[in-house]
Amino acid sequence: MKKNGIYEDQVTDETTVVEEAFEGTGDIIETEEFDDTLEEETEESANDYLEVSSENSGGDQDFEDLETPFEGNESGTTENSQTEEGTLEKVSGYDYSVLEEQENEEEDEENLLDAYYAEFGDPTAAMLMRSESGKKMMQEVVIGKDDRKQIKGTTKYPWRAICSLRIKAKDGTNWIGTGFLIGPRTVITAGHVVYMHKHGGWAKSIEVIPGRNGAKKPYGSCKSSHFHSVKGWTKSKKRSHDYGAIILPKNCKYGNKVGYFGYGNYGFFDLLGLKVNLSGYPGDKPAGTQWWHARKIKAVTSRTLVYNIDTAGGQSGSPVWRIKNGKRYAVGIHTNGYSLGNSATRITKPVFKNLKNWKNKYK
């Protein structure tokens, strides 16, 4: 639905998750359809439970739930290998053995994760984690160590498909964040990057800088004021709905040059314990430098992923991805730091459909 040519709302899938878009300055309009309620969440949790059946737990998702990546037209500049485990990038100097370590943390990790699940009202996951098999799985994914690595070759894929963001909020404040390309001109990021509730709502503009390396902007930058998110974030400010998209101008199809990530809707058992990558532009490191880290996913709720990958302010919107058959698939969108574990918005079926819609609509 369009009004004044500024905002639009549309139903994107059968679960009636409503997305919102912003293409400049204007007033927010109310939508008639918004079913993203707690009741819906409960239904989705139940659906997640169905996904963990033995028939689905061991294999790939349906093909339709995977969107393939593209490595760009820049030849010979792709990271050409991955680790033995197959899901991680191979980053020089990183001690991958830490992913296997059973670290003795002072806090009772199991109880903390119970608290996490309780907070998200995810009874299915909480019940699963209390079972013996669940406890065993959880114990196997307790990790934690700060050993981020700087990515210096940011003109290689996939690093160049990760973008440093300079955000101008509507109230005049300036922020930094991270995003990643999933299409020629679609950049995915956190919802709180494109829509800041206490700083004026929709951002005034965002400068997108793919493959930034300090002061170097190897592909230049593009500004945009065209954003998407979902009502669960913009209206309800639900952490579980914290994701959005920046649509680049038509003359700025970065994705065709630098490539873009694929993404997938993976099931509970595919994700729990999966070794994943996260790379972005943290504010606690020299300005504009990209930093990577990897860990196992230690908890999965119906809409979030939790891990001990180290992050800092500025990394909101970073891709959380796996490698599968040599291709990069995002499984989450990093949003939060938290003492129970940093976390991402999980790419569930509704999120997947919105991402696909935002990608296909703007080519």
């Binding site: 300079r166 955000i167 109230d171 005049g172 404040t173 300036n174 922020w175 930094i176 964040g177 956190a190 709180h192 990057v193 509730h197 206490k198 700083h199 952490r239 914290d242 943290p282 504010g283 606690d284 490191k285 020299p286 300005a287 992050t311 800092a312 302010g313 500025g314 990394q315 909101s316 990093h334 949003t335 939060n336 730091g337 938290y338 003492s339 129970l340 940093n342 976390s343």
Partner: protein, 86 residues
Amino acid sequence: MAATIRGRIVDQKSKNPVEEAVITLTITGMTRLVDIAQVTDDTGAFFWNDLTPGKYDILIIAEGYANRKISILLNTNEEQEIFIEL
């Protein structure tokens, strides 16, 4: 309930504003914080609202200056002003 920080960063010697300083917050305890960082404007100012009360570490990174970390305690509904010289 939410608390606010209003800050200004200046050069210690010249007293000129430090523009483009990157501010990151971390909070002690069981509070979730969005992973976004703020950048000072041309007056060296930054403004962060909607914060959960608690003890925060504020890290300031600015080109040409040593990194600086300060801690503050934010109370409920408090608007705290801080002035930092680098």
